[in-house]
Structure formats: structure tokens, C-alpha cells
């Protein structure tokens, strides 16, 4: 099923109207709704949101890694041209770790404490590439060196708990790249790391992207990471995409009130000492209690009647910029308050 994606032209991964549900006592509840995006080789898409936004669930869903009780209830996911939503476990086992790979937030809990680094690296290489152990081991050493680990031969014999957080994350990156996937999903890869190590890891990811022509989906809650890494950005709130654009547009011409709120509540270094952070009041609604209409209504300073009645859907602006907001879809309704931006 090895379909070659023409680099840079056909997207490596395409997601269309993805819907994810979870089982609760009262039946299935939709947690991710109508998520669409595509990423090409060499491109980085950042999915940004807070807890409850559905960003992690989205990433797990496109890898087929949802826990029991979760299911993809709608939409398509095409990895290198193949729709994987209905894949069986066996089919997934041939794709995961090989065409598409994932790295997680907490490298300590993501690595098996009972086996050596070498063991965990080599099993994957042997499985997908079917090389003999010796060749796999050699490759593992090269990989570790590539991700910036000094003394890679010794590290192979060590256990996860003997390494620092930054090194463990490098190991995870090495594992993810060991079979030269076309797509890499990174779920908050630097959140658990120290600031100076974070910078190193992000730099490493960029280097690897160039080297392997990766399509990267980077999930984060940190706007700084977005600013540093993204080509395109998806802002998620309460299970939906509320804004999508290229990174420059997002920072300079965002339109959704939530995006605006996110940007303004970050204490960045240039803030004047007498300024206060603009706070988004309230909290994210729970999935079992989702309001009718726009999901951001309870926290939006610009809310109108129509917001409470109907979901605005995604409105397309220029240059691939899409916003889920009535102010963008029907700006005349908001004229009275002055310029909505």
C-alpha cells in the first residue's frame, strides 16, 4: 500500500470533517467536530488550544490510537492517499511507526522503564524494515547521534530513568524517525521540558524536518512554540476549529475573539509593567453540556443573539484563512459596536 506522495504537491496527510466521539454513561458524546486540514511534506501545522479543546484527541484519532470508548464517528483521514479511518489493527500496525510516527509529551512515561533504549529502538526497526539485529543496532546508533546524543553506543544500553528529560525526548524523536516516516505528529513535545532544552528540541525538530522532508503536526498550548515552528496554524476550542491560517496572518491579523483572547492573555516579555493581562472570563463548556450555537458564546465579549442560536461554521477569507465566527460571516450584524476587529 506504499503510495508515493509527490513531495510538496500532494499532501502527506489530509483530514476532512473529522468527528470523534467518546462513550459515556449516557451514550456517545461528540468531542471533536468538523476538523479539516492537510499538511504537505516539509510543512509544519500547529494545532493550538487549551485543555478540553480536543487537540490531543484529534491527533490520537488520526493515528488510530484512541482509547477503547473513543471512536472516529465521521470524516476521512488520508495518510499518503489512503483512507485509514476504517483500518484494522493489522493494517495500522503496518503504517504506524513507518509512514506516520508520533512523539508524546512526557518522555518519562512514554518510554518503557523496564527495557533499554536500544531494545525499544531496535524492535521498531526490525519490525518495519526487517533488518537483522546487527544492522538495526548500527542504524540505532546513527539515529541517536543524529538527534544530538553524545556517546550513542553507551546510551543504547541504558534505561530511560538514567537519562534526563531532554535526552529522553531526543530518544523519542530518534524512535519516531527510525523508519523514515513521511508524517510526524508531536503532541506537546516540549511542555514537560526546561526552557533551554525546549529550544534545543524545537531546533532539532526543524533540522529533522529538513533532512527527511517531514510533514509535521505539532500540538501545543504555547503560542511561543507556534510562533517559532508553524507554517500554518489551527486554533481549536471546545472540539472545533475556530480559526485557521498561515502563521503570520494568525499573529498579525487574527479574527476570532478566542484567538485574540489567547494572544492577549500571555504575559510576553515586552509588556509594560503597568499593563494588566486581558483575561478571558469563564471556562470551557463541558462536552456533555455544550450550548446551542457558537461554543464560545459564554466567554465572548462580542456575543449576539445569532451566536446563541446557530453555529457560524467556517467562513473562508483570503489566503486560506478560515474563521468560525458570526462577526466574520455576517459583519453587518455587528456594525453598531464599531469595528469588530
Amino acid at each position: 500500500m506504499e503510495k508515493q506522495a509527490a513531495i510538496g504537491r500532494q499532501p502527506a496527510i489530509e483530514v476532512e470533517h473529522l468527528q470523534v466521539q467518546f462513550k459515556t454513561e449516557s451514550g456517545y458524546v461528540t468531542t471533536v467536530e468538523d476538523v479539516s486540514f492537510s499538511v504537505r511534506a516539509g510543512e509544519t501545522l500547529c494545532i493550538v488550544g487549551e485543555s478540553g479543546s480536543g487537540k490531543s484527541v484529534t491527533s490520537l484519532a488520526i493515528m488510530g490510537l484512541l482509547d477503547a470508548g473513543g471512536r472516529v464517528s465521521g470524516g476521512q483521514v488520508r495518510i499518503l492517499g489512503e483512507d485509514v479511518v476504517r483500518y484494522s489493527r493489522r493494517q495500522w500496525d503496518r503504517v504506524r511507526g513507518k509512514d506516520i510516527a508520533m512523539i508524546f509529551q512526557e518522555p518519562m512515561s512514554a518510554l518503557n522503564p523496564a527495557y533499554t533504549i536500544g531494545n525499544q529502538l531496535i524492535e521498531q526497526i526490525v519490525k518495519h524494515r526487517k533488518w537483522p539485529r546487527s544492522r538495526a543496532e548500527q542504524h540505532a546508533v546513527e539515529l541517536l547521534a543524529q538527534v544530538g546524543i553524545s556517546r550513542p553506543k553507551e546510551i543504547l544500553k541504558e534505561y530511560p530513568h538514567q537519562l534526563s528529560g531532554g535526552m529522553r525526548q531526543r530518544v523519542m524523536i530518534a524512535m519516531a524517525l527510525s523508519c523514515e516516516p513521511k508524517i510526524l505528529i508531536a503532541d506537546e513535545p516540549t511542555t514537560a521540558l526546561d526552557v533551554t532544552i525546549q529550544a534545543q528540541i524545537l531546533s532539532l525538530l526543524k533540522e529533522m524536518q529538513e533532512k527527511y522532508g517531514l510533514a509535521i503536526i505539532l500540538i501545543t498550548h504555547d503560542m511561543g512554540v507556534v510562533s517559532e515552528m508553524a507554517d500554518r496554524v489551527l486554533v481549536m476550542y471546545a472540539g472545533q476549529v475556530v480559526e485557521e491560517s498561515d502563521v503570520f496572518t494568525l499573529f498579525e491579523q487574527h479574527r476570532h475573539p478566542y484567538t485574540k483572547g489567547l494572544m492577549e492573555c500571555i504575559p510576553h516579555l515586552d509588556l509594560d509593567p503597568s499593563e494588566w493581562l486581558q483575561v478571558i472570563p469563564g471556562t470551557v463548556p463541558s462536552f456533555t453540556d455544550m450550548p446551542e450555537g457558537c461554543r464560545f458564546q459564554s466567554r465572548c465579549p462580542f456575543v449576539r443573539d445569532i451566536c446563541r442560536r446557530q453555529d457560524p461554521g467556517l467562513t473562508a477569507l483570503d489566503g486560506g484563512h478560515r474563521v468560525r465566527c458570526w462577526m466574520v460571516r455576517e459583519p453587518e450584524l455587528f456594525r453598531k459596536e464599531g469595528d469588530p476587529t
Binding site: 487549551e50 485543555s51 534526563s164 528529560g165 531532554g166 535526552m167 526546561d194 526552557v195 533551554t196 532544552i197 525546549q198 529550544a199 534545543q200 531546533s203 498550548h221 504555547d222 503560542m223 511561543g224 512554540v225 507556534v226 510562533s227 517559532e228 508553524a230 502563521v247 503570520f248 499573529f251 483572547g261 489567547l262 494572544m263 492573555c265 500571555i266 504575559p267 510576553h268 516579555l269 509588556l271 509593567p273 503597568s274 499593563e275 494588566w276 493581562l277 486581558q278 483575561v279 478571558i280 472570563p281 471556562t283
Partner: protein
């Protein structure tokens, strides 16, 4: 845009005019915390973890001193020593001029009622079996500050101060979100005659929008109640937002201490600069133009000789490897480095 609030006339805490502005409210003098991990058969220490090593700083009345550093730098341990959750192995800590290390019984209790602690993990720091009302009432009962009807009113007052509806006082912690739990933790810290709050990463576990709410709350409370904070965190933006002065820690030592603005405009220690550079801006047009620090955050066990930062410092020379630099500089801005960065104007390039 909110303006800075005036201190209300009927604030709970009166500005202590008795303390002269020159004297620090809390003074840390050469404090160390060394953990002996292994002794040889004679009982002599063999492996020592120097979590904090000869740290000195001063917290003035009504100000926020930020302490910033990465994991293993000792900032949390320092915070804990200030409330005597940990005891220093050397040095002294003085509150209102008097040492707190020898205190016990009633005096210690009095100290504890005035110097409080806020924890990082809002999910672990509240007793899951206690109702919120009891969580807040307990410290006051223990210190005999209020009782009966006055106690009730005080609890509701506290909840109100932190923005939690009084009706929720009968609920248990698990019924609240992380941000709300942190507010409860803050209310608890305020319940006594609090003058100083040591905040140990109070917002790190929270979502960005909730972080902003809690930071604003802390700032408001400081202004209305005249509190002093020691604010420990690893996020630069957060620390700068709330602190007037900032101390940068590395591997158990303070490497630089200055006013917040000054520190960011003119960092003198290479580590401070690296921290600032590593902190990602929110401007995609300014990508990648920074000084990347090589190497790992090191271990505080048997730290390097000389300047502790020298293994990772791009400017290290022989003297750095041999001799530990002391804190020098004028009173406002001090740093511990043999080759401090030039005090250039608007330095942003290394």
C-alpha cells in the same frame, strides 16, 4: 485596560509603618541546603546534593521578588526553607530582623501565620476529604484567630476575595477545576495574618487563559492587601509580569539579580541571556535568531568546580573553571560572572 488600583482605605492589612522601608521584611543570608546521599563507612559525606548553596536575598515590604530557573536549580527548595518545610543546612533566614531558624512553639506558629505558601499542583495540595469551608476554616481555628460567626463570615470573605461563590463552600475539591482549586489555595494562604506568600510555580499547571486570571488575581491582592510575594517559576513572561525584582538561579546559586525590566533589557550573565533567548517570542518574524544553549541541565550532585555554569557557557575560560565568581555589581543589579556580558543598549543579539 485596567488601571492600577489604589489601596482601599479599609484594607485588611494596614501598611506597616513601623517597619522602615530600608529594612527588608524577609532576609535570606547565605542559606544552603545540602543533602547527603551517601556516607562512607566513617560517616563522612561521600555524595552530596547541593540543592541550594549560599544564597542571599532580601524581600522588601510590598514587593514581589521573582525567582526563576530551570529544574534542579534549587528554587523550590529555597521556597520551602522560607516556610520551614525544609531546614537549611547553613545560613540564616530573618523575618523582621529576627532569625526564624530557632523558632518553635508559639513563635513558630506566629511566623507561620504571617508567612504562607502556595503550591504548584492544585490537584494535590487540597485535602480531597475536606470541604472547602473546612479547608479555609482550619488554619484560622488552629491559630485561634476567629471562631463562630466571625469565622463563618471570614471564610465567605476569603472566597469572595478570590472570586469563588460562597455557595460553593460546601463542595469538595474534586468538584472544582484546576484554576478554581488554585484560587482556594490562595484563599487559604490569605486566611491568617498573611504578610508574605511564597508562591511555588502557582500557575504552571494551568491553562494559559486561567494562568492570566490567577496572575491578575495575585497582583490585585498584592495591591489591595499590601502583600509581599516570593514568586518562584520557570516561565520568564509570568515572572516578569508579577515581579518587581528577579533573581536568576542556576544549580543552587543565584547568578543574577536585578529589577525586572533591567534584567530583560540588560542581562549580564550568559545564562540569563540564554534563558531570555530560549523564551520564545510571539512574533513569527523573529524566529530563530537566538543563542542556543548546548548541553543538559546538570545535576546538583557534585557540581562542577569553579563557576557552576562553565560547562555550558560559550564564554568560559580557565578562570571560570577554577574560581567560583561571587555576586558583584551595584546594589540594584548584581551578577556572578567572570566575563559578564557588556551592558549594551537594547541588547538582543549575543
Amino acid at each position: 485596560m485596567r488601571e492600577n488600583k489604589e489601596r482601599p482605605q479599609d484594607s485588611v492589612e494596614q501598611a506597616p509603618t513601623a517597619v522602615e522601608p530600608v529594612h527588608p521584611l524577609l532576609e535570606v543570608d547565605g542559606v544552603s541546603k545540602h543533602y547527603t546521599l551517601r556516607r562512607n563507612w566513617l560517616g563522612r559525606p561521600e555524595v552530596v546534593l547541593q540543592a541550594v548553596d549560599r544564597v542571599s536575598l532580601k524581600l522588601m515590604q510590598g514587593e514581589t521578588l521573582g525567582v526563576i530557573g530551570e529544574s534542579g536549580c534549587g528554587k523550590s527548595t529555597l521556597g520551602k526553607m522560607l516556610v520551614r518545610i525544609e531546614e537549611p543546612t547553613a545560613g540564616d533566614i530573618r523575618y523582621q530582623g529576627k532569625s526564624i531558624l530557632g523558632l518553635s512553639g508559639q513563635e513558630l506558629k506566629r511566623y507561620r501565620s504571617e508567612v504562607q505558601f502556595i503550591f504548584q499542583d492544585p490537584y494535590a495540595s487540597l485535602n480531597p476529604r475536606q470541604k472547602v469551608f473546612d479547608i479555609l476554616a482550619e488554619p484560622m481555628k488552629v491559630h485561634g484567630l476567629y471562631e463562630g460567626e466571625r469565622l463563618n463570615r471570614r471564610v465567605y470573605e476569603l472566597l469572595d476575595m478570590v472570586g469563588i461563590p460562597g455557595a460553593y463552600s460546601e463542595r469538595y475539591p474534586h468538584e472544582f477545576s484546576g484554576g478554581q482549586r488554585q484560587r482556594i489555595g490562595i484563599a487559604r494562604a490569605l486566611s491568617l495574618n498573611t504578610k508574605i506568600i511564597v508562591c511555588d510555580e502557582p500557575v504552571s499547571a494551568l491553562d494559559v487563559s486561567i494562568q492570566a486570571q490567577i496572575l491578575n488575581l495575585l497582583r490585585e491582592l498584592q495591591q489591595s492587601l499590601g502583600l509581599s510575594y516570593l514568586f518562584i517559576a520557570h516561565g520568564l513572561g509570568v515572572v516578569k509580569y508579577i515581579s518587581r525584582r528577579i533573581a536568576v538561579m542556576y544549580l543552587g546559586k543565584i547568578v543574577e539579580i536585578a529589577g525586572a525590566e533591567e534584567l530583560f533589557r540588560q542581562p549580564r550573565h550568559p545564562y540569563t541571556k540564554a534563558l531570555i533567548d530560549a523564551h520564545l517570542t510571539v512574533n513569527p518574524r523573529e524566529r530563530g535568531r537566538r543563542m542556543l544553549l548546548a548541553g543538559e541541565v546538570p545535576n546538583a550532585i557534585n557540581p562542577p568546580r569553579g563557576c557552576r555554569f562553565h560547562p555550558r557557557c560559550p564564554f568560559a575560560t580557565d578562570v571560570c573553571r577554577e574560581q567560583e565568581p561571587g555576586l558583584e555589581g551595584d546594589g540594584g543589579h548584581r551578577f556572578a560572572c567572570h566575563h559578564p556580558l557588556a551592558a549594551a543598549k537594547g541588547a538582543s543579539a549575543p
